[in-house]
Amino acid sequence: MVDFGFKLSRSSTINLDEVDMSLYRRLSEEEPDVKRCMSCGSCSATCVSSGFSSMSVRKMILALQRGMDIKDMLSNCMLCGKCSIVCPRGINTRHLILLACRYYQEGNK
């Protein structure tokens, strides 16, 4: 490729008009409590994996709401369930993670 001495970066702007929330909607049908998340971060603070990887339930829920990919994050979860124990909004986060894993296992992208 010719080097023109400059590059174009793709905008990182989240455009809510185009965001694909289908996975979020699908998961929240099965685990409706996820809608109550208030981004407090208790889940990620207690997570045994979050200090060593990209895993964070708070970020995972936000990513779902913004139509972003969570696959890489999920692969770092050990399904220990600590996040579910601490969530003050009573979200069964472990179940949510399992639902997402199952979705990807079913051959979805």
């Binding site: 702007t13 809510l16 809608k35 109550r36 913004r66």
Partner: protein, 338 residues
């Protein structure tokens, strides 16, 4: 003979005080600038946290003070301190001597047009919390008619927590009002997507947090942490809103059919002149100054002048009513001793 007590302002603070004064055997005289009693609450539709119809509350309160003297479309022209009490001349020519005066002049809604970047008064898609309550009540608003509303945004903290706008304080009621309005509008447009743009959600009151949880779970309201930075109109006649999604650290944009600005509460300047005539001061937050803000919020620095409701700071209805009652007790003690 029954003693006069002059009440300046016939909002819920003034009305509740009048009711209590009547019950204690005083002769309350309400001086109200506008053509109706009830103040701001008479413009609201339903009141959080129980969704009580506001008009029904005002009608009930009016019924309870039918024995009070009420002067509508009247203001205080002059007020002079006597040896023991005040001599007050009203704009209708009536003059009254009263040993105690209660100021219940309430608040003023921040003028959202001052935040030009939000486009109020420029774009028809942008309305305020007050406009929306008016529309809920009357169905009348040219900006709302014939619109197919599919996406609605609420901007929190408009003119509050904003040093540049001259108000550093939090208006306290607008977070829960936004949630209340989001729920009410979702009931009218069930398929619409609703976004609340907030910096913090300050839901301090009884059952407010439950309101929030309900808005999330039952009504699918999306809460986005980030202050709206600009609003512009697009070619389709919608507004494009930009904010930062501070939780993901990315800029965010969304196209909306309607944007509701949660204008904050500022002190009502209509009372400034009266206050200066009797040396009632203004506190650093712009509201009237109480003797202290911990123990004597209903008392001013001037003997015989009492304060109730939103004239001393942002208040909810139950807080205002409680304060009016407390002020009446202070007035009663003051008039009984000496």
């Amino acid at each position: 003979m029954k003693q006069n007590v002059v009440i300046i302002g016939g909002g819920i603070a003034g009305m509740e005080a009048a009711k209590q004064l009547l019950m204690l055997g005083y002769k309350p005289i309400i001086v109200e600038k506008s053509d109706h009693l009830g103040g701001h609450v008479s413009n609201w539709h339903r009141l959080f946290p129980d969704m009580t119809p506001a008009v029904a509350l005002i009608e009930r309160m009016k019924g309870e003070i039918s024995d009070a003297n009420v002067f509508l479309e009247t203001e205080v022209s002059s007020i002079n301190k006597l040896k023991d009490g005040y001599s007050i001349v009203l704009s209708n020519g009536v003059s009254i001597v009263s040993r105690a005066v209660l100021i219940a002049s309430g608040f003023k809604l921040f003028n959202a047009a001052k935040k030009e970047e939000y486009g109020y008064g420029i774009y028809d898609q942008v309305i305020t919390n007050q406009d929306l309550e008016h529309w809920f009540n009357t169905g009348e608003d040219k900006r709302m008619t014939g619109k197919d509303i599919k996406s609605i945004g609420f901007v929190h903290c408009v003119g509050s927590r904003d040093l540049k706008a001259g108000n550093s304080q939090c208006s306290k009621v607008c977070c829960v009002t936004a949630i209340k309005q989001a729920i009410e509008i979702k009931e009218r447009f069930p398929t619409a997507e609703i976004y609340c743009f907030y910096m913090d959600l300050r839901l301090f009151g009884k059952k407010y947090e439950d309101f929030y949880i309900n808005a999330q779970k039952q009504y699918d309201v999306h809460f986005i942490r980030g202050r709206v930075s600009e609003v512009s109109e697009n070619i389709d006649g919608k507004v494009v809103v930009k904010a930062e999604d501070t939780l993901s650290g990315k800029p965010l944009r969304v196209t909306l059919d309607l944007l509701v600005l949660m204008s904050g509460m500022v002190c009502n300047p209509d009372i400034d002149q009266v206050a200066s005539m009797i040396n009632v001061g203004v506190d650093t937050d712009g509201f009237l100054r109480s003797r202290d803000n911990v123990y004597s919020i209903m008392e001013s620095d001037c003997p015989g002048v009492f304060l109730a409701g939103a004239c001393t700071g942002t208040k909810t209805v139950p807080e205002t009513v409680a304060e009016a009652r407390a002020a009446v007790l202070s007035i009663h003690n003051y008039l009984s001793n000496g």
